[in-house]
Amino acid sequence: MIRATLKSLAARKLRLAMSAFAIVLGVAFVAGSYVFTDTIDRTFDDIFGGLSSDVVVRPDLPGETDIFAGFATGTTTTISSDLVDDVADLPGVERADGEIENQSFFVLDTDGDVMTSQGAPGIAVNWHDGPAADGDPVLRLVDGDLPAGPGEVALDDRTFERSGYRIGDEVEFVSTGDEPRLTAELVGVVRFGEGGSLAGASLSVFETRYAQELFVGGDDAYNRISVTAADGASAEEVRDEISAILPDDFEALTGAEVDEETASAIEEGLGFFNTFLLVFAAIALFVGVFLILNTFSILVAQRSQEMALFRALGAGRRQVTRSVLLEALVVGVVGSTLGLLLGLGVAQLLKTVFGAFGLELAGGLVLLPRTVVVAYVVGIVVTMIAAYVPARRASRVPPIAAMRDDVVATESSRRWHLWIGGALTLLGAAAMATGLFADVDDAALMVGAGIFAVFIGVALLAPVLATPVLRVVAGWYPKAFGTVGRLARENALRNPRRTAATASALMIGMALVTAISIIGASANATVDRALDDGVRAQFVVSNAVGQPFSPSIAEAASQVDGVDEVVPVRVSGGVVDGDQTFLQAFDPVAYGRAADLPMVEGSDDLSGGGFLIGEQQAESEGLSVGDTVRLQLPGSDEEIELIGIYGQSPLLSGGVIVSTQTLEDGAVPALDSLLYVIADDGADLATVHEGLDEVTAEIPTVTVQDQEEYKESSRDQVNQLLYLVYALLGLAVLIAVLGIVNTLALSVMERTREVGLLRAVGLSRRQLRRTIRLESIAIAVLGAVLGVALGLIFGVSLQRAIADDGLDQLSVPGGQLIVFVVLAAVIGVLAAVWPARRAAKLDVLRAITTE
């Protein structure tokens, strides 16, 4: 008796462990996302927190947050040294240090490669020893000497260590200035703040006069003033004192205000990343819920005889429900705890990966109480809900069932599944249709919400859909595999609800993968078409690091033999009628020669100022030719007139176009983001390519691409993003695989006697394994087929929804979708390995005589 009890407990333990595993994975993803983003937050807080001086004076930029920094173009407005002196003379001011800062000044290592990782700024500053608000210096010399004049530089210690330079070496730089390439002698090493981490950025320090020459055109001027308050004066008082004497286009802020602004800007940037991770955590959990729900359903079904016996012995319905919920609580707590631990592991892994890519995060992981709470709440609540449904069902098992041999759970709950599933699917479809065809504001949001509803709806409907699909998917089994095939088909079909629930997890993963792959393929197709149809320029010059570059390159490029014309494109942020807006600047007439720019209305001559806008934008903003808007730039604030409206144009998403003069008048630095190069008729393109390569050779980050290369590189970018998303969705698929493993293993346990009988009458171990494998493949392919079908609908709908935002080509990667289904079959084979081995290991005699 004790032996039997122990045995059944051990068997249950395994089953419970399997269901706990689903929770572990879901929670790990949520916890991992939080821990990782908190760790990043902490790193940035460490870097920027408390590093500002008591008060900062800077040019007053329009807009709330510093949108201009986002384009690394900043402003050309500077602060004269006279103003620095005036500020220093104020009674509340102890000292005022003029600061120069440039964010596009990159260090090349000894191999000639740019050292900063993608997107991180290359910062150059002038040396001064003014303290931060906490009294400590922002920069400290840790080795060598301070740069004392022209041609001397100090680097931050992190960059120094990785660069391979030694003190005394000539260091190479590239910049956006008129002199794109520069060398300076390395005379010293400095440390930034306490830890020295710059989160991937590099820091080059110059003597002030030399920095002025490099970055502010040689004027005795600065970008910013760091003010230290005199003893007894508060930062706020000093700020107000300074504000009183400042000219209109400057502002004074306390160091705390600046830090807060920096922090919120970073948080906004990271918030996106956090959201991204959490969306995947939600998907992982969503899939996990199916797994948990399914596992508990099976567990409870298997125990319904035991429960019926309890009921027969006088236990109330509620007691039975409670016992199941209690079990779920225990599993939830254990699963959440392990999930939290695994989440720390995931965060550590991400941190290591980021470190390998140059974005080093200093210090240990950050585990906030909030993370712990969320992990437990999510893990436990999900498990309890997942357990409640089957528990209620179990409590309805009539006591008489205890006497019967095989208990079939009541089918009544299946009906509400269908009703709710049907209703959700219809509602979701309606929302999608509204988003697609009706004229609503948030089309993409509508479609997204609709997709979510359809997801859950179809998952609930899956048991009904499963049978016909399985008849096709597994229908050929008996013909191909004889009895083994028939057994596999019948096993897959015997409990459609279970099969469907198991397949649902994979369905969700597959639907997302399919939708994403359609969006990706469409993005590639859109770029291809845009280039094929609308771009006449043979070459594109751009910067791989995403930084703009000096106009001297455009000038040099136009001198290359065989080049007819160079059309530079600049970008900047700006504030249009109070809204922060992305601006492009070029000469539309010249642009029209490089690419399609069909004018619908008005003129495309921006030489007298004004702006152009796309047809759709004009309509949605209610603008027509002759209307004016207020445009604020760092150094200007004026009404400009809409002089023309353009139609569909490849590579332009319909936004505001101004002249480069307008940007320059607004104190936006004169930097190009992209050049279109048109070759002479009949010129040898290979020779022109070489000539352009020579011109850009000076700056390693700037590259020349012909149309094919440009397509290739934008495809690479799209694909990189896709692979990242695939990798994360891979986790959802992994959970789905575990779900199949779980269900199969539980089914095998449930069918122990059947397995014994089959083995007794001569089914070999190999045939038995094949039976289970085929069943697994049927489940996996069912999930894949439903998933790909849903994904097709979702992907096409999403593409339609955002077609107006530029993604106007639909491309369905058919071959890829077939690969997905084949992969699903492989997944099925893999998922079956363990359950099949378990089944094959069953002792025949014991299996037959088992209870």
Binding site: G482, A760, G762, S764
Partner: protein, 253 residues
């Protein structure tokens, strides 16, 4: 060494067969050295009190369980030397089974259950023989039913048909009527009887019911893991009488 071939008329035999469960002080001697022959074309019943080793003997003879020592022959094949693959094949091709309960795969129809061993082996179904068997068990109109649509007696008859249809050298039945009411039990027993008489099938049946034993040609009596007696041409009364004797002996011991 007792490796001399079995006489042609022996379907299966055991030589000095022992089966011991557990170790040391928890040891249970289920079979204590059984030597027995099952003649081809005969219907043998194995009787004995509960726990006397009937099922164990049958499982060892039927290649479902391994013996502790001694030898088991099915036809000319000695089992102890065989691996799982050969044992599986032996069960599939040479042995038929009828268990007390749970004889059928619930997802397969009666017909599919009956031909299961042949289908697994990839052997063709002998249509004539199949029809004969079906006619004998009287299931012609139930062939497309799933097991849960059949009564207990019908299910056992399907199991009998399955055991017969592959024409094994020997059929082992462990209390095949144990779960049936007496009328269904009688149907199954007379069917087994007919298959021996009309088709020359060899059957070994474990039972504790003297009435069931009376259908057989020979009854072996098992007590405490040893064959203690046998009886040919049994009747229910004679078997019952003999059983009482053992009980008395058992109580004296």
């Amino acid at each position: 060494m007792t490796t001399q071939p079995s006489s042609p008329s022996t379907a299966a035999r055991a030589v000095d067969l022992t089966k011991i469960y557990g170790k040391d002080d928890t040891q249970v001697v289920a079979l204590g050295g059984v030597t027995v022959e099952f003649t081809a074309g005969a219907y043998t019943a194995i009787m004995g009190p509960s726990g006397s080793g009937k099922s164990t003997l049958m499982h060892c003879m039927a290649a479902l369980d391994s013996s502790t020592s001694g030898q088991v022959f099915v036809g000319d094949t000695e089992l102890s030397k065989l691996g799982d693959k050969e044992l599986t094949r032996l069960r599939r091709d040479k042995i038929g089974f009828i268990f007390q309960a749970f004889n059928l795969i619930p997802t397969l129809t009666a017909k599919e259950n009956i031909t299961l061993p042949l289908d697994i082996a990839g052997r063709d179904v002998d249509k004539e023989w199949f029809d004969t068997v079906i006619a004998t068990v009287g299931l012609a109109d139930r062939l497309s039913h799933k097991p849960n649509q059949l009564s207990g007696g019908q299910q056992q008859r399907v199991a009998c048909a399955r055991a017969l249809v592959s024409q094994p050298e020997i059929i082992f039945a462990d209390e095949p009527t144990g779960n049936l009411d007496s009328r269904s039990g009688t149907e199954v027993l007379s069917f087994l009887r007919r298959s021996v008489r009309e088709f020359g099938q060899t059957i070994v049946m474990v039972t504790h019911d003297p009435n069931a034993a009376a259908y057989s040609d020979r009854v072996l009596f098992l007590a405490d893991g040893l064959i203690v007696d046998e009886m040919t041409d049994p009747t229910a009364e004679k078997v019952l009488e003999r059983m009482k004797g053992f009980d008395a002996v058992g109580q004296q011991a």
